[in-house]
């Protein structure tokens, strides 16, 4: 058996070392699949202990109890003792836009200009990125590919992470526009006065944002003779077909940003970051604003704050009745595979584990507007899910056995697993 494994590894490695290619995307689901006996975590806060899950043609056809007397059709996977999850969703990431942070040539994330909503991330998304494929063995199967920088950095799209090219990858094209709200305090990095200083141009930047919103809205009220690409790209915000992602952390900034966007007629707003959102939960609730909080693996910003504030922030906001998801937009791309552990950390602060799970599944899907098909295990939705040896929110037991995107069973191998096997093999044979 061992020899067999080694031969298999060698064969794989031979291919790999010759072609240095990424994992081959899986073909469309041909055969129905049944997973029986697993603990199914539905992603909406509920759980089915001994579950029966069936999917066909990429869609879930049955989600229920294994005691259910119903015909099991297709290939059977024994899930006894295992855990089943909807694929995790990573919002506001530059996956596929940055391959190696220190290599400029591999970076396509920040275009020149302060107001460039017409700049679209999707066409630069590298579906064959080695970093992207490394998401999958941890259960991260979907991501919002997002440009960065400037005031309005561009338009994102949502992709699944097993594709030949960006067109195949896209599950929601041009879903949202990303507005980086200025900070009323700026951070001075150098010199003796290293630290936070009042930002004297805060109001000026707000005025620029205000006029950009007003101009782009006015532009859309008529049929212009001359096209203005940035203004045109904003129209989805006013019709409600696109969301506005506002990046703001401070109490004042959050109130300023949301008040402005609402008053200028933006229909659907998501707060990203929200470091001090816990101080304005009533406001956010009243304005019906969901929050994509920064990943829990962060330090407090200020010395006098609770040491565990970033850990418990999702809980504070959830307890206040807000719709909350987790993103790690500020982290490096490779860290995105730790998304489940960010949710796990929140559970360590007393948040119910299934609720913590929904922060990176059902809630993220709702916030990104893809909950019609993704985020939870429900009949009729996409079969984008995975089976894990144990609790997927804990790194010791996050061991993926099978993973599916739209019913396609995807490879869980990566550049990294191949190197692992190659060198284990070297030492075993020496």
């Amino acid at each position: 058996m061992k020899t067999y494994n080694n031969i298999l590894v060698l064969v794989i490695l031979l291919c790999v070392s010759l072609s240095w290619a990424q994992q081959t995307p899986a073909p469309a689901q041909k055969e129905a699949i049944v997973i029986e006996g697993a603990t199914a975590h539905l992603g909406n806060g509920s759980i089915i202990e001994n579950s029966l899950i069936m999917f066909e043609g990429g869609k879930l056809t049955f989600v229920g109890d294994a005691k259910m007397k119903i015909a099991r059709k297709g290939k059977k996977i024994n899930g006894t003792g295992k855990h089943l999850y909807p694929g995790f969703i990573a919002p506001t990431k530059a996956l596929g836009l940055i391959e190696i942070n220190a290599v400029r040539a591999s970076i396509d994330v920040d275009e020149i200009g302060e107001f460039i909503p017409h700049v679209r991330s999707l066409i630069a998304y590298n579906a064959e990125s080695k970093v992207v494929e490394s998401m999958r063995p941890n259960g991260v199967l979907l991501a919002q590919i997002t440009p960065q920088g400037g005031d309005i950095s561009g338009t994102s799209s949502i992709v699944q992470l097993d594709a030949w090219n960006w067109e195949d990858a896209a599950i929601k094209v041009d879903d949202g526009i990303h507005l980086h709200w200025p900070s009323s305090y700026r951070f001075n990095r150098r010199g003796e006065n290293r630290g936070y200083m009042p930002n004297d141009s805060y109001q000026k930047t707000i005025a620029e944002i205000t006029s950009f919103l007003q101009d782009s809205k006015a532009y859309g009220e008529t049929t212009p003779k001359e096209e203005n690409a940035p203004f045109k790209a904003m129209q989805g915000l006013y019709s409600g077909s696109q969301k506005l992602y506002i990046y703001a952390d401070g109490e004042k900034e959050i109130i300023d940003a949301i008040t402005l966007a609402k008053s200028e007629g933006v229909k659907s707003i998501v707060l990203v970051g929200g470091y001090e959102a816990y101080k304005v939960t009533d406001f956010l609730k009243q304005q019906n604003i969901p929050v994509l909080v920064q990943a829990t693996h962060n330090r407090p910003k200020f010395e006098d704050e609770d040491y565990d504030l970033p850990y418990k922030l999702p809980k504070l906001l959830t307890d206040a009745g807000l719709l909350v998801g987790i993103q790690n937009g500020e982290g490096r791309n490779f860290q995105t595979r730790n998304l489940p552990f960010y949710a796990g950390q929140a559970a360590g602060q007393g948040l119910d584990k299934e609720v913590a799970l929904s922060l990176i599944t059902g809630n993220n899907a709702k916030i990104l507007g893809i909950d019609n098909a993704y985020g939870t295990l429900e009949v009729g939705k996409s079969a984008t899910l995975f089976l894990s040896e144990g609790d997927a929110l804990d790194m010791r037991t996050n061991q993926l056995l099978n993973a599916f995107i739209d019913g396609r069973e995807i490879s869980l191998e990566t550049h990294q697993t191949e190197l692992w096997k190659r060198y284990m093999n070297k030492y075993e044979n020496e």
Binding site: A102, V103, K130, R299, P300, G344, A347, W420
Partner: protein, 982 residues
């Protein structure tokens, strides 16, 4: 008033002839010298801050004090000035001034690439070492600035060129407006100066860090000694100057609190006691400051309150900054109480005229007035070794004194005159004639009531006819009263009268439309002074200092306890593995017993049922708690040590404790192939840097390979090495030189003591261990081969992301590994980094640790250890060792820490859950039996921080509403340090 003063001073300066030397020719008239005496009689005289004559005479002649006493016989040729009701003090001295020495300006147009070599020849190899500078060569008397200083009460300043690390000598100069530099300069080599700050006009890269500056000074002293012994061919003007200035007073500009200790430590190593310029934070660590035995020079730059009237802005002001606003004025008082000798300086005050206000603040906070006066007179004189000339009013001393209306430290007191070297400078014209009171004024036909209030010097008047107050103009100058107003009947009156002192009636002329007539005024009611309200803080408003003095500091340093952990799941990290339902007794800082049902005795019992007890986590690679990380000025910096720059106040220490970390290796960064020496710390929150460093610490040094040392990811392209090929040559060259150095040293012939070579020699001798930052396999292999060539072993490869590719070779060499759990893709050389690395290396028999190199990740190293279970299938027991006993082994500390074993240090963590679970929290973290983190105490501290912030915010708002100066809210923040921090 102000304008009048200025005119008078200008008049005086231009009218008095400048005094020339005797042998100078006189071309403006006939030669005439004044040998008369001047006596100030009936004054209160502070001969010294503690010798006070209540009513006496000060007699001066030719710029010197002749006598000061209650009874002084006046020679006949004495001009007598009645100074009744006035007080005479020796004028003040500023030891740390830049008066008359032009501030250097930074040169523009620097290139992207760093400048590594010196620009001068015939001098020391480092441009920031300039002891050959003599301020006297560039000194130019600055009359404008002098006036400012004279108004504040200063008579003498000690000035130097405030630029560079070794700054040369200073000049002691009087503010003699009427003299020349021949009279003014009391000492043209008054002291020699040092600092940790590079010259702003020089661009040489080294030293780029605080520890580099420290090492540079040490080496400079070694070299001066070597030079003095005649071992150097040719001339080095810097070393010559240093040796020449050896006998002078040595003054060190330290400024920040811990820099005072740092400076003193350099002095101690070379038998030099510096006088040290402090930063105003000394009160936080007064016992360590006192132990230096250094005299201090203290700034009075107490911060203004933060304007937190916008509630959003208060977030940015930390409690530690608020506290400093609240506590800093107590600095002089606390130092005085603890017997630290200090003088004051005007340095770092925004405006000279703020001086008195700040001084008064210090006094309101409890500094005795005599101490304040000493700090301005006798102590600076003593610091400068000039007690026989300046600082008091004893016989033969410079006649430098101020004449005031009373107690200098009273808010209302006026400085009338500031005499320097026997020459008068009028500051405020004295109106000694007190005419305040209520008067009846009678003219031929009318009666008015005149009320004069205000101060003696600046009286204010109001005039009434019957009960109606009339609009009037009033002036009283040089004993002449001028008063004009229009009465109810539209008649205009203009009064004038020369009033003699001490009369209760006066008369004069009044002009009306009818022409001149006489008037009489008669005092009806004498003036009464009302006591002024004190605007300064009540002492009860001062919040207590904590250790360290930030929000999460402790009021008292926590103490060692005897503790029994009952019924825990104990992760021993030893062969015993995991013991369930087990007790652990902690006593005298050690693990005293491990077993079932241990008896508590006097121990404090902690019920650990359902909880997990582990050894404290050890981070092999950290950059928290440091003031600088990289000395990037040279490609080898073995002479620097992180022990010089430990920052015990970093909140990161507290956070790390909250994540169960008890020990770490504070490593130098990865800018150089040969980095700096490590500091190995126990995170004893609240202790001094000294106390955090391990006793008998194993000796380590950071080496580095790859992109950082060849500067691939930043602009510089002019430093060797730029390739991995060059890196090998750096190592070979340095080790070869160290070997030769060692041979010379052993041979008994004289040798130049070289800190860098001494360190490398320790490596060759197996006394110091290398922890080498490394990524790709080629260079890992290379360093092992270099080490083998020089017959030693590399101790640790840290980061070592491609260690899995050469794990067999590493095992054979005997090197350990500390690596990231799952980092990769952030730069080109980590493209093949895989999270299975730790597992593969471990399976090849290498001692493997998981490190952080990150101030966030250090809080969750338990989780990072858990990742090795996922990636590579490590057993949980082995995984846990990756952050405890394995790093202890790598650091040669496994006989003391890293596992739960009888006799080892009680560095323990109590977890509420399986320690590697994502859901686990550290509840208690102990070091040597002292609880440094306790989740329950943390909750209480959150509350007390909220309360104290509210209290201080309220006090700051009060300052604002009282119209006191405020500053914009801002927040100082420590740099987030990583390997690459420059």
């Amino acid at each position: 008033m102000k304008q009048r003063l200025l005119i008078i001073i200008l008049f005086m300066a231009s009218s008095s002839l400048l005094k020339a030397q005797d042998y100078f020719p006189e071309s403006k008239g006939v030669k005439s010298n004044n040998h008369n005496y001047t006596a100030f009689t009936n004054a209160k005289i502070y001969v010294t801050p503690t010798t006070v004559i209540e009513s006496g005479t000060l007699l001066i002649k030719e710029g010197k004090v002749v006598s000061a006493g209650a009874q002084v016989t006046l020679p006949k040729n004495t001009v007598v000035i009645n100074a009744e009701n006035k007080t005479i003090y020796p004028s003040f001295i500023d030891v740390y001034s830049d008066f008359g020495v032009k501030k250097p300006k930074r040169e523009g147009g620097r290139g992207r690439s760093a400048q590594y070599d010196a620009t001068r020849d015939g001098f020391y190899w480092n441009d920031h070492i300039m002891p050959e500078t003599d301020a006297v060569d560039v000194f130019e008397y600055d009359s404008k600035k002098a006036k400012e200083l004279l108004e504040a009460g200063f008579g003498v300043v000690n000035t130097h060129l405030q630029d560079g690390i070794a700054r040369g000598t200073g000049v002691l100069v009087t503010l003699n407006e009427n003299g020349t530099n021949a009279d003014r300069i009391l000492n043209d080599r008054s002291a020699q100066y040092f600092s940790f700050t590079k010259s702003i006009v020089k661009s040489q890269s080294y030293p780029s860090s605080l520890m580099g500056a420290t090492a540079l000074l040490r080496q400079f002293y070694h070299d001066a000694d070597w030079y003095a012994k005649g071992n150097v061919d040719g001339i080095d003007r810097s070393l010559e100057a240093l040796n020449k200035n050896k006998g002078l007073i040595q003054i060190f500009e330290a400024e920040s609190k811990s820099n005072v200790l740092r400076a003193d430590k350099i002095g101690d190593a070379f038998g030099i006691q510096y006088t040290i310029l402090g930063g105003g934070y000394e009160y936080e660590m007064v016992s360590a400051i006192k132990a230096t035995n250094a005299k201090l020079i203290l700034p009075l730059n107490f911060p203004d309150a933060y304007d937190v009237s916008d509630p959003f802005s208060e977030t940015f002001v930390s409690l530690s900054d608020m506290r400093h606003w609240n506590q800093a004025p107590a600095n002089p008082k606390i130092l005085a109480e603890n017997g630290v000798t200090f003088s004051f300086t005007l340095k770092d005050l925004k405006k000279t005229k703020d001086f008195k206000e700040k001084l008064m603040e210090a006094i309101a906070y409890g500094l005795p007035k005599a101490k304040a006066l000493e700090a301005l007179t006798t102590i600076p004189a003593q610091i400068l070794g000039q007690s026989s000339k300046i600082g008091s009013l004893q016989k033969n001393m410079e006649a430098n004194f101020i004449i005031t209306s009373g107690d200098f430290f009273d808010k209302e007191t006026i400085v009338y005159e500031n005499w320097v070297q026997g020459k008068k400078n009028l500051i405020t014209a004295a109106n000694t004639n007190d005419i305040r009171g209520e008067y009846n004024i009678t003219t031929n036909s009318k009666v008015f009531t005149l009320s004069i209030k205000g101060s003696i010097d600046d009286p204010k008047a109001s005039i009434k006819q019957d009960s109606t107050t009339l609009t009037s103009k009033f002036k009283f100058e040089n004993n002449w009263l001028n008063l004009s107003f229009t009465d109810n009947g539209s008649e205009t009156y203009r009064f004038s009268s020369l009033i003699s002192p001490n009369t209760d009636a006066f008369s004069g002329k009044v002009m009306t439309s009818n022409g001149a007539e006489d008037f009489k005024a008669k005092l009806t009611e004498a003036f009464e002074t009302k006591p002024e309200k004190d605007h300064t803080h009540e002492p009860t408003d001062i919040v207590p200092i904590t250790y360290p003095n930030i929000g999460y500091g402790n009021l008292e340093r926590p103490k060692q306890e005897t503790i029994l952990f009952k019924n825990a799941t104990v992760w021993t990290g030893e062969d015993e593995g995991i013991l369930t339902n087990t007790d652990v007794l902690v006593k005298d800082g050690k693990i005293s017993k491990i077993g079932k049902d241990l008896s508590a005795g006097k121990a404090k019992v902690i019920d650990a049922t359902g909880k997990h007890l582990t050894a404290g986590i050890i981070d092999e690679h950290s950059h928290i708690a440091a003031l600088s990380i990289n000395e990037s000025g040279h490609n080898s910096s073995a002479e620097v040590t992180m022990e010089d720059v430990v920052d015990p106040d970093d909140i990161s220490i507290y956070y790390a404790l909250g994540g169960g970390v008890t020990s770490l290796q504070l490593l130098h960064g990865s800018a150089n192939p040969i980095g700096g020496r490590s500091a190995i710390l126990k995170l004893k929150w609240g202790e001094t840097a000294e106390n955090m460093i391990y006793d008998n610490s194993p000796k380590f040094i950071k080496f580095a390979l790859g992109e950082n040392v060849k500067q691939s990811n930043w602009g510089s392209t002019n430093r060797f090495p730029q390739t991995r090929m060059g890196v090998e040559q750096v190592f070979i060259n340095y080790f070869q030189r160290a070997k030769e150095y060692g041979e010379k040293k052993a041979s008994g012939t004289p040798y130049r003591y070289d800190e860098e070579m001494e360190t490398l020699l320790e490596i060759l001798n197996g006394e110091r261990f290398i922890s080498c930052h490394s990524y790709v396999q080629s260079e890992i292999n290379m360093l092992m081969k270099v080490a083998e060539k020089f017959d030693f072993r590399v101790n640790t490869f840290t980061h070592i992301l491609e260690g899995y590719k050469v794990a067999d070779k590493m095992a054979e060499h005997g090197v350990g590994a500390a690596t990231f759990s799952d980092w990769w893709a952030y730069k080109f050389e980590v493209n093949d980094a895989i999270p299975y690395n730790a597992a593969i290396m471990q399976q090849q028999g290498i001692t493997v640790a998981i490190n952080s190199d990150d101030q966030e990740m250090i809080r969750r190293l338990n989780q990072e250890a858990g990742k090795t279970v996922k990636y590579g299938g490590m057993t949980e027991l082995e995984a846990w060792k990756m952050v405890t006993i394995n790093p202890a082994k790598l650091l040669h500390l496994d006989d003391r820490v890293g596992s739960i074993k009888k006799g080892k240090d009680a560095d323990l963590v109590l977890w509420n859950d399986h320690p590697m679970s994502i859901y686990a929290k550290a509840e208690k973290t102990l070091i040597e039996g002292v609880v440094y983190f306790d989740i329950e105490k943390d909750k209480q501290q959150r509350e007390s921080i909220k309360k104290e912030r509210a209290q201080l915010i309220d006090l700051m708002l009060q300052d604002k509403s009282k119209g006191k100066k405020t500053q914009k809210p801002s927040g100082k923040r420590r740099e987030e340090m990583t390997c690459e921090s420059l």
